[in-house]
């Protein structure tokens, strides 16, 4: 027979905790033991550009090459791409209005969007927006190398009222980081590890 008074006053962490009718104890819980390997990378640190001035003096050619590439990146964003000597042939297609058969057309998917990179038309909104900060513009260049949805990340990254909302910005960063990887991956050399 159970002791009802004892049962009712059983303290939360006391010695008189509930016990099953058979007298068998409640099982103890496993503690959480984490396996860690922080010491593997604890000593890793950034490799800082040592003495930049010296480095620039020693390797002016390399520095100027990098700067030229960077300028090209920025110009790529600042100026609409006009290729007078392009071998790509364009055809102007005038859409014909057909009200009776107005079926919304799907946008081309990323895989289908295989125009030459330099011929991708700029979005009007991108050109009319005020100049974005340096980093945004550099990042925009990354987006240009991506697929058709790259303009979405550009807009998220650019200073706009949408930046006030944290979530879209984070999503934009996620997109951006993915794009960085894709872009760098495509540029990486391929000798064996």
């Amino acid at each position: 027979m159970q002791d009802s008074t004892r049962k009712s006053v059983a303290p939360r962490f006391g010695v008189n905790g509930p016990r099953s009718g058979s007298g068998r104890a409640e099982p103890w819980k496993n503690f959480h033991f984490a396996v860690s390997w922080a010491s593997v990378t604890a000593h890793l640190s950034l490799i800082e550009a040592a003495d930049l001035k010296t480095a620039a003096a020693v390797a002016p050619h390399q520095a100027s090459r990098a700067a030229a590439a960077a300028v090209a990146v920025v110009q790529h964003i600042q100026q609409p791409q006009v290729q007078s000597e392009s071998k790509v042939r364009w055809e102007m297609v005038v859409p014909k209005m057909d009200r009776a058969n107005r079926v919304p057309q799907a946008l081309p998917s990323g895989a289908d969007y295989d125009y030459p990179r330099t011929s991708i038309p700029m979005m009007p909104g991108l050109l009319t927006t005020p100049p974005a900060p340096l980093l945004s513009r550099a990042m925009a260049a990354l987006g240009m190398r991506g697929r058709s949805n790259n303009l979405q990340s550009l807009q998220l990254n650019a200073p706009s009222p949408a930046r006030a909302v944290d979530k879209p910005v984070n999503e934009g960063r996620e997109l951006l980081l993915s794009k960085i990887t894709k872009s760098l991956r495509s540029r990486a050399q391929e000798p064996a590890l």
């Binding site: 103890w28 503690f31 340096l134 980093l135 980081l177």
Partner: protein, 253 residues
């Protein structure tokens, strides 16, 4: 001129001002961006630093150090997949980079790709790679091999807390409470405030039905970590068992 200003500000520890100066730049300069990335990293803004490094890396894709720095930033953001890819790019450019291989191995462990991590750690020789190797083996449940690697670590560094903690975890995985007690005692000797050691001792005490000892260890855990719910639960169970045993013995007498 701007570079000088930024470097001076950075040297003076005025990192925010240095970044502000950089943000006013109207042209993309890889050197300035590199410095900016370093400052962002120092401020713990790892995502910003990763983005900055990515931009610089694009302008100088053959610079292995930039790829490495980018990888490190991504790892600090806990973007293990991206970081692993970035470390792989470093290794494509320079297969001898042990630091990149360590970073890659660590990311692969986070991604639960222990086999690949082990391959990388095996190519790193000794040093910090040993712990990585042992963890990879432990994850693959190759406990005997893992134990030997941990012992090698401990032979070189007898007070290696991480090795002892992982050995405690491994002995509990194997239900080897004798070893749990041994490793936990060693860890407690080195770090008297180690809750991992106390948890190990409490587990070993429960394993050998020494409820008085288990209660004592749980009590000590709660002194150090009052939020430890398992310790609260186990203290109650241990004390309950103690009182039950005492009552049982009293009844017999």
């Amino acid at each position: 001129m701007k570079l000088d200003t930024v470097l001076e500000l950075r040297s003076a520890g005025r990192l925010e001002e240095a970044l502000e100066t950089l943000s006013k730049s109207s042209e993309f300069d890889p050197q300035l961006s590199s410095v900016g990335a370093e400052i962002e990293f120092a401020l713990g803004r790892f995502e910003d630093a990763a983005l900055s490094y990515a931009a610089v890396t694009l302008s100088d894709p053959g610079n292995v150090n930039l790829h490495y720095d980018l990888a490190l930033c991504l790892a600090c953001c806990e973007r293990w997949d991206l970081a692993a890819e970035a470390f792989e790019r470093v290794l494509r450019l320079d297969a001898e980079r042990a630091d990149a291989r360590l970073g890659l191995g660590s990311c692969l462990l986070h991604l639960n790709r222990a086999e690949e991590a082990l391959v990388n750690f095996n190519r790193c020789g000794t040093g910090p790679a040993l712990i990585g190797r042992a963890v990879a083996l432990q994850t693959l449940r190759r406990f005997d091999e893992a134990g030997r690697v941990y012992e090698t670590v401990l032979a070189a560094q007898p007070d290696c807390e991480e090795a002892l903690s992982n050995l405690i975890a491994m002995s509990i995985q194997r239900r080897d409470f004798e070893r749990t007690e041994d490793y936990s005692s060693r860890l407690l000797e080195i770090h008297p405030q180690s809750t991992v050691a106390l948890q190990g001792l409490a587990t070993a005490a429960f394993g050998s039905a020494d409820h008085a000892a288990a209660a004592s260890y749980c009590d000590r855990i709660l002194e150090l970590a009052p939020e430890n719910l398992e310790a609260w639960h186990n203290l109650r169970i241990a004390m309950d068992q103690c009182s039950f045993s005492a009552g049982h013995l009293g009844g017999k007498q």
